[in-house]
Symmetry: none
Subunit: 131 residues, 4 copies
Amino acid sequence: MFQLDLKSRKSIYEQIVDNVKELIMTGILNAEDKIPSVRELSKTLTVNPNTIQKAYRELEYQGYLYTVSGLGTFVASPSEVPIDEKRIGEVKEHLRESIKELLYIGCSLDRIRKILDELIEERSDWNDKGK
Amino acid sequence: MFQLDLKSRKSIYEQIVDNVKELIMTGILNAEDKIPSVRELSKTLTVNPNTIQKAYRELEYQGYLYTVSGLGTFVASPSEVPIDEKRIGEVKEHLRESIKELLYIGCSLDRIRKILDELIEERSDWNDKGK
Amino acid sequence: MFQLDLKSRKSIYEQIVDNVKELIMTGILNAEDKIPSVRELSKTLTVNPNTIQKAYRELEYQGYLYTVSGLGTFVASPSEVPIDEKRIGEVKEHLRESIKELLYIGCSLDRIRKILDELIEERSDWNDKGK
Amino acid sequence: MFQLDLKSRKSIYEQIVDNVKELIMTGILNAEDKIPSVRELSKTLTVNPNTIQKAYRELEYQGYLYTVSGLGTFVASPSEVPIDEKRIGEVKEHLRESIKELLYIGCSLDRIRKILDELIEERSDWNDKGK
DNA sequence: GTGGTCTAGACCACT
DNA sequence: GTGGTCTAGACCACA
């Protein structure tokens, strides 16, 4: 499914969250798919079940998964729920941090603008082609 | 000089590092400027001196500051901080991820554009005031 | 007969219990009506028979159903299920807590009134259709 | 601070969440107050620190607390953040459950309406008197 | 001292 | 089998 980087400063559960999110957003995992059970993934990644569960819980909170106790954990359908303004605020905060980071590194505001335009461009291309 | 946000998940020392970097990048602090002593800043921010010291050490290590024993801590010349293209690539990747996530949550591209413009605007306001 | 919501945190057997209770309370199922056999309901809901059986057992225990070996399971007479004033008090306390929480989150009393009206409306629609 | 009921079906961490929420909503704990550290509360309640942390985390997610790593956990100011629609949806679900419960018990819709009116009345009295 | 993460291993209810 | 909760005890970074 994916691999962990033990050297990373990211915590293990955070890596799992990001990886699963990635698999869902890229369409490798689809709505209603069953994902590996806590114990199963725990074995394949040789990570403690509690750590896996923590990651799954976080993903559930963020709306990517849902759980049926006794049956397993499944991929949720995207935004069947009204847009989550709180979550948007959180992601916006991430973006703000990254932009600050670019400034620290020494990027000019113009260069940052260019980078952001590029990224937006990427997605609109993607949308035009993909859908 | 700047303010800390205790509610942020960022650690205090990290916030100090980022804020000082920002003051330097935006030209509010210039090469050879003397910055407040550990004790002084510790008082104005009501933060443990050890925390300030840790931040200064980190800034020194990253090449933004230098210390002259008995005289104080000073801002280094910017030339000593070359632009790190690799790091830019990494941050760009973060930005890409966040944008992907906003799309997945259900934000339209237009709304994302608006959010990014807002964030850029924040920074240029800052710069205008600062200079 | 009714539908299950797998995404709910309620366990499946609990949902079945609640749904059957509801069908009885709203008069869709009447005293002495025969309800589907464990196997039958198991198929229509695509749920493990053990789960259905557990739900039926619980309903029997609470006095809503009774079983005649070899014939099937039937709805009990409502008189056998006296109103539990103590329980009403408990649920009222839950409602009070939830309302308090909505106020704390920042809902106006008017908005809360609207929400409650909506919920009541849901039930009376249900009853009108059912009877 | 409060006591746990080990006989309750509610899990320990859930009881802690509810109790702390109650202390905040009734104004016994006020914004910016420091609450007992994880280890401290762990000792006074003779409960594992992990369990306390889980409760605090949940409260943070719901917006009642915020955390400064290395300093402690504090009571957040109410709704300095835009109204959390997701959370409202969750509480609404609780209300829906309670209303269903009343139906199961045998309350008529009219009686339920009366109960809800009573509860709303309580709060508007409270608001008139209190503020 | 504070919170944050992780492990190992146990018990429970539900499917 | 599944997830959910809890304990005991360890290590880390930060203040």
